[in-house]
């Protein structure tokens, strides 16, 4: 399968799977898709999420405590694939849970579940040879992160290895919401365009419709993560699917052009 964006800008939604539990994650995922998400990043909870801010740390901790495993995340992907065939599905993980399962076993199981792509937070291009080979063998697309601190030589390498889309990090830092889309973001996307024709999704700190509108000016898609994870935390299991659906519909709604944000 290949990732496709059906909207401009596309919307990528990150969920920590297993927070508050797998069944609720499934309902939230369906609500997100039906409200207009193009791609879901299914976050595999990890005990030591060092690239994440407090919101996703807490979600991850709850999901690990529930006993959520890679196998559960892949099973959820399989069920979503059946129910919503055209949704883009990305497994979003730290490296260790994948290594523990084994690169080959993981890639085979992900393919079988109908996963499109994989993004590993703590895997850089230079260390990715075996990983990319395993993904390729199972028709999975590797997605790499590009950062404002990445020099052009690294962006070129990241662009070469990535498929589906490139995830551009809007600012130097960890995941979490912020007031404005960082000024770093536009420059990074401009630099990346020199090396790729792939869609560029911008993430980190994108949490409302006006942010999405700013992103639409220069990137192809917006990634929304912590804002949704925080909403799930506040809503509780019963209310979370409806709350997330409503929030995503709002992100999709046209905004009065107040896009003076930097």
């Amino acid at each position: 399968m290949a990732i496709q964006f059906h909207h401009q800008p596309g919307l990528v939604v990150y969920l920590t799977i297993g927070d508050p539990d797998i069944e609720t994650s499934r309902k939230i995922a369906l609500a997100a898709i039906d409200a207009g998400a193009d791609v879901l990043e299914l976050g595999v909870p990890f005990s030591d999420p060092l690239a994440d801010g407090p919101v996703i740390q807490r979600a991850s901790e709850r999901a690990v405590r529930n006993g959520t495993r890679m196998e559960d995340v892949l099973a959820l992907a399989g069920s979503l694939r059946k129910q919503r065939p055209s949704i883009g599905l990305v497994i979003f993980s730290y490296l260790n849970p994948i290594l523990r399962m084994g690169l080959e076993s993981f890639a085979a199981a992900a393919e079988k579940s109908g996963v499109d792509a994989v993004l590993v937070t703590d895997l850089i291009a230079e260390e990715s040879e075996e990983y990319c080979a395993a993904l390729k063998k199972h028709h999975l697309q590797p997605i790499f992160l590009a950062a404002p601190t990445s020099p052009d030589s690294r962006l070129e390498r990241i662009a070469e290895l990535s498929e589906g889309f490139i995830y551009a990090i809007s600012r130097v830092g960890i995941t979490g919401t912020q007031q404005q889309v960082a000024g770093d973001a536009r420059e990074l996307v401009t630099r990346l365009r020199r090396y790729t024709k792939l869609p560029i999704a911008l993430g980190f700190g994108i949490s409302n419709a006006s942010h999405v509108a700013v992103v639409a000016e220069y990137a192809d898609a917006a990634v929304v993560g912590s804002a949704i994870v925080a909403l799930i935390e506040q809503s509780g299991a019963d209310q979370a699917p409806a709350a997330v659906g409503k929030f995503i519909a709002e992100l999709r709604a046209p905004v009065a052009s107040e896009s003076s944000v930097s």
């Binding site: 030591d48 999420p49 690990v64 260790n96 849970p97 130097v172």
Partner: protein, 408 residues
């Protein structure tokens, strides 16, 4: 003697296979940090080529930290066991009380050279935090130390020392609130402030170039010890013993002996209070290879790849992974890794204190415990060399509780 040692302290050559120790090591970090790691690698390579860097580091190690440290023949401990002769490499006599200062001086000078004025560090037992705070005071830099809340509780005196030295100590409550959690938080700080901040990592852990660079700065331990034992005995020891948390004192104590195939290298991990996952920090007994905090090495983890909690009476050994160079030495069989329990470490502390008047850090006491275990079966002509990586003043609270010294 002093002049000779000054020469010996020159910087080692650049590592032959950068960042990899056989299958282990590497760089597993968020992309945001890559530019900083590459900048650090280049700055370190540049410093290694600069005689002025080596000369300033050598000066500070000698006149500020107190190198060379003595190699002391522990005759009463030896006599009490009736076996191998035991020598102690006295890193505990260094300024700030542990080997950590060797690395902090090196990296502190490197940070200054790179123009970074904001230093962050993690600490477990607090010895690396104290050494970092000390070097930041010496060089006039801002210092922030991340420390698990549990470690702050059990190593309270070191928290006061860091604050007295002008450092800010930030409490970390996530996970088990120990060293691993402090490293996560320090790495998050570094990701956020990467453009202005130097991360002064305290052990042979993390992404390249840290495991190589920290080893290079600790290598002075075995450079001295090898020469000292040859002077004292005219021969090499049968074994070198060191405790292994992240593994910086051990790699420093082992390194120059690696080519000496007849010298056994024995790393002693924390056996804690039991064999179940979560009750110890013996990575080579309960761990499997994986990635934690930037490097590929042995990691204590469950079958879903979640990192286990660990336990040790010594905060400095209480960590779920181990330096990647130790993983390579383990797999090649060049070094052996064993464990000593909390109880054995406590008993070794008492024994060394009462036979020699030397109070080792609880971390170092693990190495002493293994020497006490194996020495009696060895011949009087055999020699064991223990790296006493730090002193035990910081542990008085724990020792008083565990050994019920109150009112005695």
């Amino acid at each position: 003697m002093a002049e000779q040692n000054r020469t010996e302290l020159e910087m080692p050559p650049v590592a032959t296979v950068p960042g990899r120790f056989d299958a282990y090591g590497g760089r597993y970090v968020p992309e945001t940090l890559m530019a900083a790691l590459q900048e650090l690698e280049a700055a370190y390579a540049d410093a290694q080529r600069d005689p002025a860097f080596a000369s300033e580091l050598s000066y500070l190690l000698h006149h500020y930290a107190g190198r060379p440290t003595p190699l002391y023949y522990a005759s009463r401990l030896t006599d009490s066991m009736g076996g191998a002769k035991i020598y102690l490499k006295r890193e505990d006599l260094l300024h700030t009380g542990a080997h950590k200062i060797n690395n902090c001086l090196g990296q502190g000078l490197l940070a200054r050279r790179m123009g970074k004025r904001r230093i962050i560090a993690e600490t477990g037992a607090g010895q690396h935090g104290v050494a970092t705070a000390t070097v930041c005071a010496l060089l006039g830099m801002e210092c922030i130390v991340y420390m698990g809340q549990e470690d702050m509780r059990r190593q309270e005196l070191n928290v006061y020392r860091m604050r007295l030295l002008g450092a800010e100590v930030r409490s970390v409550t996530a996970g088990s609130a120990t060293l691993k959690d402090a490293i996560n938080e320090a790495m998050r700080d570094w990701v956020v402030n990467v453009r202005t901040t130097y991360y002064l990592l305290g052990s042979v852990l993390g992404a390249h170039p840290y495991p190589t660079m920290v080893r290079d700065f600790q290598r002075v331990i075995s450079v001295e010890a090898r020469q000292q034992i040859l002077e004292a005995e005219g021969r090499l020891p049968n074994a070198v013993l060191a405790c292994v948390g992240g593994g910086s004192n051990a790699i420093g104590a082992f390194y120059e002996f690696i080519p000496d195939k007849n010298v056994r290298l024995i790393g002693v991990e924390a056996g804690g209070r039991g064999h179940e996952l979560g009750e110890h920090a013996a990575r080579f007994q309960g761990g499997v290879p994986g990635v934690l905090q930037g490097t590929y090495s042995y990691v204590l983890q469950d079958d879903a790849g979640q990192i286990s909690n660990t336990h040790s009476v010594s905060a400095g050994l209480d960590y779920a992974s181990v330096g990647p160079e130790h993983a390579a030495l383990h797999d090649s069989g060049r070094a052996e890794y064993v464990s000593a329990s909390d109880e054995a470490a406590l008993q070794a502390t008492v024994r060394l204190a009462r036979t020699e008047g030397i109070l080792p850090a609880l971390e170092s006491a693990h190495a002493v415990a293994e020497a006490i275990r194996i020495a009696p079966a060895m011949s009087r002509n055999d020699i064991l060399l223990i790296n006493v990586s730090g002193r035990g003043d910081k542990d008085m609270g724990i020792l008083a509780r565990e050994l019920k010294l109150q009112g005695a």
